[in-house]
Symmetry: C3
Subunit: 173 residues, 3 copies
């Protein structure tokens, strides 16, 4: 079963690789490794939810900010960010300018490392549960090749107010 | 003098490699590099101390949270996290499922990079002193092969409320 | 046009590679990759500005701390940190103990990855604008070889109270 098959079975389509927010590129290949830029849970170029993740329902993310993001909602956002990261890897494998598409993911030998940054309210320590959304998506799409080393970290704030950001190092053929 | 000799001289034993908290693996080897997952200062699967690191003795880590963790105590925790990271590297070198043991560390050519995340109270800027606990342990166990590049960062919160998290990239033979 | 030429045209000189704050080294080469330590915007060994970055002019970075750092000022600091990172890469290429100098940068094949950590006030989400200072400098000095993948993250605090920290992975010949 290919990654493209698994995506279809999950009802997922690989999105267009998000455009960098500034003076950098979505991913760089060096030898057999691809390093991605940090990916936000953008859908069609926009964030559906902003804020920091915490348990206290309804409390503001910061003074005057949006309400805290529920950990389960953040888990879904991590999944979306991971899908964007796969799109970026696929585009890098297909070569400069091309969009790649799911077929390019057949050249992924192994996801080596995932770092999941979770914008976190003081005292929120459930980062592993949130980042599991990203880890699970990689396994569902790539099978054993999706099994990776991982760091989950709670940070103060992320670009555009994103609740999560995911970056990958991937070994490719 | 081998890494195993140095560990014995330090009165340290390589612990069992901690089990991942979720859907990932402790370490991945790609070519001559091993990337570890972020390691917490777990001892027998539990954290002896939780909270964020700060100078103000007795103040809470967050509203209703445990007291701030003293920087010197955090330095010891960074040492423990680094020992866990070495256990993870040893297990990866010994192959899937095996425990590795200190002898496997003879195949470490060089620790390439250490990232030390320190859960930090507002205004705490002593991350280098804390992460030095991890850096020193690597030198004591691995000698010159333990000399690494490093980033020390103060973050909002870490998994399970851990005060520190350490990840490694290691070159292996 | 060489990197040394471009530095001269920018009116910049490669600084002396900053000395590590503790028990680690400025950079490690493994195969064709150089991993740098996290670089602060040190000039002659000191930080001109400390604090966290935020929009609210004049508010303290933390209780009793220095005023918030303006995002545009932080962008300049990110540029300085990136220049220090290039100095560290040059020194690593020139070999142990040597200072490298800009000529060594001709051996940079590609900047692979930049991680920019921005010490951020609650609700500050402009990390990309800040880290662009680092990204732009790499392009100005290295041309196409300076185009990199990137993660920008807002953190609680950084060593010595630095507003920004920059680390690189670089492919070298």
């Amino acid at each position: 079963m290919t990654a493209a098959d698994r995506l279809a079975a999950l009802g997922l389509a690989l999105p267009t690789a998000p455009v960098p927010l500034a003076a950098y590129v979505p991913a760089v290949r060096t030898g057999s490794l691809v390093f991605t830029s940090g990916q936000l849970p953008l859908v069609d170029g926009a964030l559906a939810v902003t804020g920091v993740v915490g348990e206290e329902a309804g409390a503001p993310s910061w003074p005057g900010g949006p309400p805290l993001v529920d950990p389960d909602a953040a888990r879904e956002l991590a999944r979306t960010a991971a899908l964007n990261a796969l799109a970026v890897v696929a585009a890098a494998l297909a070569g400069a300018g091309a969009e790649g598409g799911a077929a390019a993911l057949e050249r992924v030998v192994r996801v080596v490392k995932l770092v999941g940054y979770v914008a976190s309210a003081p005292g929120f320590t459930g980062q592993p549960r949130v980042v599991d959304g990203a880890s699970a998506l990689l396994g569902e799409v790539l099978g054993d090749a999706g099994r990776h080393a991982r760091s989950a970290v709670g940070v103060a704030a992320l670009p555009l107010g994103a609740p999560v950001e995911v970056e990958l190092v991937v070994e490719v053929a």
